[in-house]
């Protein structure tokens, strides 16, 4: 157990820092993915034919290619592309922050799935409620903010909850590009001490705790989003 102590020579502190990095990336990727998803869902539902085709290409490719491959492509090709553009414009190359790159790479993946979850949820809103918003003179942005997004939430929560849990675990894939999230820290610690079992078990427990805490929060958000709906089991609120 000394190996897991928070202070060096224990590795516990490193593991917790790794967990924090994982959570930051997951939150960022999920959040930006959600923003991409809202734009993507609206584009697919209401956009012109060209935009719709482009979004179809995006969601299809991202969902077809294994995430690990995508991450490698987006990470290396993405940073390379940015630097080439910078050089072409006469700026110096930059060192892209691993955290920022990790967030964006996973956000692109999350965005494709979010697009489909939100598109389905918007289609599930009783059409009359959208019509009432139009009939009362709501402008498109106002309608999105006040009616469409809150009304689709109960239909989107189960899918979004899955996406969040996937986001927390996809952060482990960033170990491959050397980012110090939880899995990478665990590899480092166990590699140095040869205590593989101890460290991977500890990491597993941390991932499990993250999921359990997430489930608590998701359940609350879901209950709140369904506040206007009679409960399925029959008892009222």
């Amino acid at each position: 157990m000394d190996l897991l102590a928070l202070e060096p020579p224990g590795w516990g502190g490193n593991l917790l820092r790794g967990l924090l990095n994982s959570v930051i990336i997951a939150v960022g990727a999920f959040g930006f993915g959600l923003a991409i998803g809202i734009g993507g869902a609206y584009g697919k539902l209401y956009g012109g034919p060209i935009l719709r085709d482009l979004l179809e290409v995006y969601t299809t490719i991202v969902r077809a290619v294994p995430e690990l491959v995508l991450i490698l492509i987006l990470y290396f090709a993405g940073t390379d592309l940015i630097n080439r553009v910078l050089e072409a414009l006469g700026y110096a190359r930059i060192d892209i922050n691993g955290l920022v790159a990790g967030i964006w790479v996973l956000a692109v993946v999350q965005g494709a799935y979010s697009t489909e979850v939100l598109r389905g949820a918007i289609l599930s809103i009783p059409q009359g409620q959208i019509e009432a918003a139009r009939a009362y003179g709501m402008a498109p942005m106002l309608m999105m903010r006040r009616i469409t997004l809150p009304a689709m939430l109960p239909f989107a929560i189960p899918g979004l909850a899955n996406l969040w849990l996937i986001a927390t675990k996809d952060t482990a894939l960033l170990a491959i590009v050397g980012f110090n999230e939880l899995t990478q820290e665990t590899r480092t610690a166990s590699g140095q001490t040869k205590a593989y079992f101890t460290f991977f078990l500890a990491a597993g427990v941390l991932y499990l705790l993250l999921t359990l805490v997430s489930n608590q929060i998701i359940a609350r958000v879901e209950r709140w989003s369904r506040r206007g709906m009679p409960s399925v089991s029959g008892s009222t609120r």
Binding site: G128, A135, Y136, M138, A151, G228, P230, T236
Partner: protein
Amino acid sequence: MNVASAASPSAGQTAAEAIHVENLHKKFGELHVLKGVSLSARDGDVVAIIGGSGSGKSTLLRCINCLENPTSGIIRVNAEEIRLKADSHGNTVPADRRQIERIRSKLGMVFQNFNLWSHMTLIENVIEVPIHVLGVPRAEAITTAEALLARVGLAEKRDVYPAFMSGGQQQRGAIARALAIQPRVMLFDEPTSALDPELVGEVLKVIADLAREGRTMILVTHEMKFAREVATHVVFLRNGIVEEEGPPDQLFGAPKTEALKQFIRTVG
């Protein structure tokens, strides 16, 4: 309910024009639903639109606030003509979105299926448009909304979500939502058709009260007795044209066309 049509403060030649529809055509693809309909309502008028299912009543009502885009024709609301243009596919669409939004915010629409926003409590439904579209201060909107809810008999349902109310309560709530925008004209599309028979009366009573106080309304309805009592003018729509129109006593008492006679026989 005993609202003599003669008693309503309508139809005086001096009242201003609220709605004017002229030679309105609407096609859904090949289907020609409205074939040159004209209609007008002055302040205080209660215009009832009757006709068989599929005759175009809802479409006519929905064209007035551009929930459907008319194919051709003139629509004036509040003496302001809705500007239309052709889009790249040759469909007629509003030329100015802002104008449509402005016009819509003066028309209180009541739907067959209520269409209250399910994620908002009743009072939140009623204050939503005043606050976010019309810019009324929140406190003022709430005061007005509470008075309106009391008026339609729903004061104690203030903080209840629509899914927990009966159809009749939801529809009265929807009427309060429409009144909250202080509409120039109320548009009703078969407001009682989705209700259980025992709930129809409570909604009709609210509408009759509005008619009695001189509200301008256009009302699509299957309740012939009610139309006769509250309307100042009745329009009989058939196959997308106005087959016959006039004061209710004339239309129901002495229908001229064979089609209307038959319609009254089957419905009434």
